[in-house]
Symmetry: D3
Subunit: 62 residues, 6 copies
């Protein structure tokens, strides 16, 4: 019953999301014996002006 | 002081969100004696290509 | 495919959590036609000194 | 290694987000000795019809 | 700048968490070109009476 | 109506949490005109073996 939420700065292609979901689901199944059919993964693509590191927005770092 | 976050795959109508919020708030008040005026509920409508189950994006399952 | 996360200040009894989970799942099924078997609900019971409102920890308000 | 997630109802300007991120990062550094370069802050701007308080959507309160 | 949060029902050993973190970080680096040193992963081990599926707590399903 | 969730690796003292909550609430009020009485802040203190960076658990880095 794992639930995984990924936040990334910027966007991912649908192919990247598909492969990431497949690999993480495989990892959880293989390493921790978690049923694949019960594994949920959600992606949240965060715009660069909504993510800060070191006290500055990524959008302002360019 | 409950805080409830709902992620759903796809979208909900405003009427559905209004009724869900009303019912969950009522449940928390009646079952756990939580003050309705302190109950926050947020909805996050996740696109089908941002949600995976069983290692595959919902968008790819069609 | 709904995923619901509830944060409450303090604790809930197992009976309260069971009834809240049953009612929220029923609400999502009835109002938004979400499959009950795909509805995940997780509870997070937050200690009073880890929750602030109005700039003050709940634990300090006693 | 702090990770801070802010949900606000409605939107913020980029200047507001930049200043909030700078001040929160400064607070965590000064009060808790957290390294600024390891502090992540993400903003999520929630539409008024996705946020309920007291059982009613903000969008319906107008 | 990925941030990954995993909720699992029950517990994981430290070795399982270490391997899962290593593999997910590798996946994000290889598939999406995300810098490993900027990838944060947090685990939340949820007790069985704090996780419901199909309207029933896992703890009550035994 | 801001809702802020802070995850930190390790623990904070009650005094640190109280001061952080007060300062963040003040920041949101001053910069974004958010009502202090509607600002919720929750802390989650994450054990070092539940937080990874660069693919390794913090607990393993000692």
């Amino acid at each position: 019953m794992p639930y995984v939420h990924l936040r990334v700065a910027g966007t991912l292609s649908q192919d990247q999301k598909a492969q990431i979901a497949e690999e993480i689901t495989d990892t959880l199944s293989r390493v921790a014996n978690k049923s694949k059919s019960y594994t949920y993964i959600t992606f949240e693509e965060v715009p660069h002006d909504n993510w800060a590191i070191g006290g500055a927005l990524l959008a302002k770092k360019d």
